[in-house]
């Protein structure tokens, strides 16, 4: 251990750096953006992270990232019907945003414009040396949307960000600002055809007492690579529910970084990872409780079949001043096959002495007693197993309350089970 040498760049690393050289002149942005891009590429030249980097302990990106197709502007991607009926769809097709849409109570701007005038430059750049997704995205980001929801606005129809791939590589960003007391639902879809390499970063700023439900559904094709990041900052009294479902791609790294600097803010994370084939899916959450009386609950349920490898890293930090924090995290996994693997690292880092924090993690197979119970009632084993596995994850969806949403998400679940289990 610990024998260091300067790494020789892998084929994927070289391809990324070369792609930057080729694409640089076409990437949008003023000089301030260009400087950020250059710095980010320099960071990439040090090599992609390996297991030695703690944040990437179970995802050796250097070894796993092999699929680096070039950007192909000739590919056509088609917008899909909205996931939830009545949504306002904001499509990004093969990395290019559409004209935008007019939403009552919100302003939507194409991100390319904010890159061109440099106003988005301050938000670019990796957050820390291990923020490879941030570096990669900064180097290549070309478009996306900026959604600004006005204070007090209550937007009933969900806003759907639809990031549709056609192959090649695309890099997008979705900054969202929610004003004081506003309420909305945002759906983020990472979808498409072709084995693309995608990086996608969202930034959410939630104003005081604002309330938001954010749903991420990732169902890219089996050969795709999806590197994404969800960032959120929660002001006083605001409430965020983040729901995610991963049901595709060969390589997934999904980072969830939430900061709670506002007193009394509440964060709920509910996630489902459906893993099959030779998928490697890593969900890494970093949550900072920074103010008093902040609360959070995180529940992640995983089902792994085939030779899939799943990872959940959940880090909860409680700062010295965040007294009366209440944080609870659970990660439960069902392994359905002998080759499937799951690794989890639920981490607590606590500096306040009057808090209630807990985490639980289980990795098991289907409970034999439950199976027996169903089979004793004349249900054959295969059906019984299917029922139990589905119930295990559907529980998370049902918490969403809105019936139409539950139905749509359960539909995705059913499709996945029909195809993979």
């Amino acid at each position: 251990m610990n024998i260091h040498s300067t790494p020789k760049l892998t084929a994927a690393e070289t391809a990324l750096i070369d792609a930057f050289g080729e694409r640089f002149s076409e990437l949008p942005g003023d000089a301030t953006v260009a400087v950020k891009r250059d710095d980010a590429v320099e960071a990439l030249k040090a090599g992609l992270p390996t297991r030695r980097v703690e944040a990437w302990h179970y995802t050796d990106l250097r070894r796993l990232l092999t699929n680096v197709p070039g950007y192909d502007s000739t590919l056509a991607a088609r917008a899909k019907p909205a996931l939830l009926a009545g949504s306002t769809v904001l499509p990004v097709l093969n990395g290019v945003s559409g004209a935008g849409a007019s939403i009552d109570g919100a302003t939507v701007t194409r991100l390319v414009d904010k890159l061109l005038d440099g106003s988005f430059a301050p938000a670019l750049g990796p957050r820390e040396p291990a923020d490879t997704v941030g570096a990669l995205n900064t180097a290549f980001v070309a478009d996306g949307y900026f959604i600004d929801i006005a204070a007090g606005a209550e937007i009933a129809a969900p806003i759907e960000i639809q990031n549709v791939q056609a192959g090649g590589q695309t890099h997008s960003r979705f900054p969202v600002r929610v004003g004081q007391g506003a309420k909305a639902t945002i759906v983020e879809r990472q979808t498409g055809a072709g084995n693309a390499l995608t990086s996608s970063i969202s930034h959410l700023t939630l104003g005081e007492d604002a309330e938001l439900l954010w749903i991420i559904v990732q169902d890219q094709p089996d050969g795709a690579t999806c590197l994404s990041q969800f960032n959120a900052e929660l002001a006083k009294g605001s409430r965020l529910t983040l729901f995610f479902m991963n049901a595709g791609s060969k390589l997934v790294r999904q980072e969830i970084r939430v900061r709670m600097p506002g007193e009394g803010a509440d964060f709920k994370l509910r996630g489902i990872n459906l893993l099959s084939g030779d998928t490697h899916c890593d969900v890494t959450m970093m949550l900072d409780h920074l103010a008093e009386n902040t609360t959070s609950t995180e529940i992640v349920r995983n089902v792994a079949n085939g030779a899939a490898k799943g990872v959940f890293q959940g880090q909860i930090k409680v700062a010295k001043d965040a007294q009366k924090t209440d944080a609870k995290m659970a990660c439960n996994t069902l392994l359905l096959s002998d080759e499937a693997e799951f690794s989890t690292k639920p981490e607590l880092e606590i500096f306040a002495d009057d808090v209630a924090c807990g985490h639980g993690a289980t990795v098991t197979e289907i409970d034999r007693n439950h199976l027996f119970y169903l089979m004793a009632r004349g249900i054959d084993e295969k059906t019984a197993r299917g029922l139990l596995v589905k119930a295990f994850v559907a529980e998370i969806i049902e918490e969403l309350e809105d019936e139409a949403t539950v139905e749509v998400l359960e539909g995705i679940l059913d499709d996945w089970f029909a195809e993979h289990v």
Binding site: M1, N2, I3, H4, E54, H57, Y58, K320, T333, L335, L336, S337, D338, A340, E341, F342, S343, T344, K345, P346, E347, L348, E349, I350, F351, A352, D353, D354, V355, A356, C357, G358, H359, G360, A361, T362, V363, T364, E365
Partner: protein, 503 residues
């Protein structure tokens, strides 16, 4: 609800400036020249009169060590250690190696007496209780007459008690140096077979320069007739203590082993880098308990022992069992992960730990349970308490290998913070590659629930007492794993620190 006053006071009682074992003894020492080189290693090996293979083994480890870099992943911070500024060998001139009790320097005997570790068998057996300078340390497990002690003073073992009696049962209990000479075939077979010389930075350093330690061999079918114990004392300035312990339990054997340690109060930091290897063959059981009470540094974080230890047990045989119990209150920095490799089918590993940190202490400790065999099971119970400016991290790994069908793990780690300048952290790594595994992990950082308290109090028990009761229940999981005689002593230590605290 923050920690109650009683808890705070009681943790304060074992705060770093209350260290009772910090006295220094002036004993003339024979030392190797300062610094680390092949010469130092040859010097140590020659001093011990070791065979050539042992010297070669050491030199191999040293060459390997030169290529390694100090690990930095643990959540501990300290100035870089100057490995050339340490004495690697320091033995009392009068007693340069294990000898019969009559030949031990009376000054050294006095040190152990002061620590409450009597080495005179006749007195122990007769139950003689000599008055000591420090009355408190006098009634402990070591005086019960049921514990054989190997006393390690700086770099050498000075005496091992009850050897004759143990030999009657076929048990070998002696210092490592003697074992290398007297039973080279056993040592050669097992030394480095659990923690190889290439294992990690400090284990590799230890392999190169270890000076002594205890050797225990329990032959097939023997249940060791008494508790075995090693008491480690660092006395000399600027020395590092590098001991190596090897415990082998053959088929069906059983042994319970205790380890205690203390050091004088000094402004400098001293390094203690030990390696402990346990081997359990078919149906064997090893119970290893530690009360770690090295000097923790003063209230400003000056001085104290760096305790960088590699402890690992290998459940090599089917149905074997290894259990680690540790009560950690000392050391400026602790960096240790007593682990179990569950190789044999149906083997079992256990880890019970209470770690209390005060002052500027830094603890990064936990365990590894590596499930390789079928039907293997493991249990981890860890309780951490941080006070003052200390940081207390539980870091543990549970890994279920592809072939480890029906592996089972249960992990529970709880922490408590007292005050607002300390930190409590939990970093578990759970890796499962077999679908029949059952792995459960839970961790909490919280206070006693009001419901629990109410339940006890409405039966007429005052609040503080109610809390004490609940807390006793909280630590019971760990305490009950200690050997009975030892538990009395540990309970005092823990009673002090946990009463009035939390779950």
């Amino acid at each position: 609800m923050p920690a109650v006053q009683e808890t705070i006071e009681q943790v304060r009682n074992i705060d770093v400036d209350q260290y009772k074992y910090g006295f220094e003894s002036f004993i003339e020492m024979d030392k190797a020249p300062k610094g680390l080189s092949e010469e130092t290693i040859r010097f140590i090996s020659a001093k011990k009169g070791e065979p050539d293979w042992m010297l070669e083994w050491r030199l191999g480890a040293f060459r390997r060590w030169l290529t390694l870099e100090e690990p930095t992943w643990a959540r501990v911070h300290y100035p870089k250690i100057d490995f050339q500024d340490i004495y690697y060998y320091a033995a009392p001139k009068s007693t340069p190696g294990p000898t019969s009790l009559g030949d031990v320097d009376p000054e050294i005997l006095k040190v152990y007496e002061k620590l409450g570790i009597p080495l005179k068998e006749q007195e122990i057996l007769a139950g003689v209780q000599k008055p000591t300078d420090d009355g408190e340390a006098s009634d402990n497990v070591y005086k019960s007459g049921r514990v054989a002690v190997d006393a390690v003073f700086d770099s050498v073992s000075v005496v091992t008690t009850f050897r004759a009696e143990l030999a009657k049962a076929g048990v070998l209990f002696m210092s490592m140096s003697e074992a290398i000479k007297e039973h080279p075939e056993i040592v050669r077979k097992y030394l480095g077979s659990v923690v190889p010389t290439t294992d990690n930075y400090y284990a590799t350093l230890n392999s190169a320069v270890f000076t002594d330690g205890s050797f225990v061999f329990i032959p097939k079918g023997v249940r060791c007739p008494m508790e075995l114990s090693t008491y480690f004392r660092i006395n000399e300035k600027n020395t590092g203590q590098f001991e190596r312990t090897l415990i082998i339990a053959e088929e069906g054997a059983y042994v319970s082993y205790l380890e205690g340690c203390t050091a004088p109060q000094r402004d400098e930091n001293q390094l203690h880098a030990a390696v402990v290897e346990l081997v359990a063959l078919d149906d064997a059981e090893i119970k290893y308990s530690t009360v770690q009470n090295w000097y923790p540094g003063d209230k400003d974080g000056k001085g104290g022992i760096y305790n960088f230890v590699t402890k690992r047990g290998d459940c090599r045989g089917d149905r074997s069992k290894i259990s680690w119990t540790q009560v950690e209150t000392g050391s400026a920095i602790t960096w240790k992960y007593p682990s179990c490799i569950l190789r044999g089918d149906d083997s079992r590993g256990e880890f019970y730990s209470i770690a209390v940190s005060n002052g500027y202490q830094q603890v990064d400790s936990g365990t590894k349970m590596i499930h390789l065999g079928k039907n293997t099971s493991s249990r981890i119970i860890s309780k951490g308490i941080s006070a003052g400016h200390s940081n207390n991290t539980y870091r543990g790994q549970v890994s279920v290998n592809r072939r480890a069908t029906n592996a089972r793990n249960f992990t529970n780690c709880d922490s408590l913070l007292i005050g607002n300048d300390c930190g409590a952290h939990t970093v578990p790594y759970i890796e499962v590659k077999n679908s029949s595994a059952q792995v459960e992990h839970e961790a909490t950082t919280s206070k006693i629930s009001d419901d629990q308290k109410f339940y006890v109090m409405q039966r007429g028990i005052p609040e503080e007492e109610a809390i004490a009761l609940i807390v006793n229940g909280f630590v019971k999981d760990v305490i009950q794993e200690l050997p009975m005689e030892f538990a009395v002593e540990a309970q005092k230590l823990i009673g002090i620190s946990l009463e009035g605290s939390v779950g």
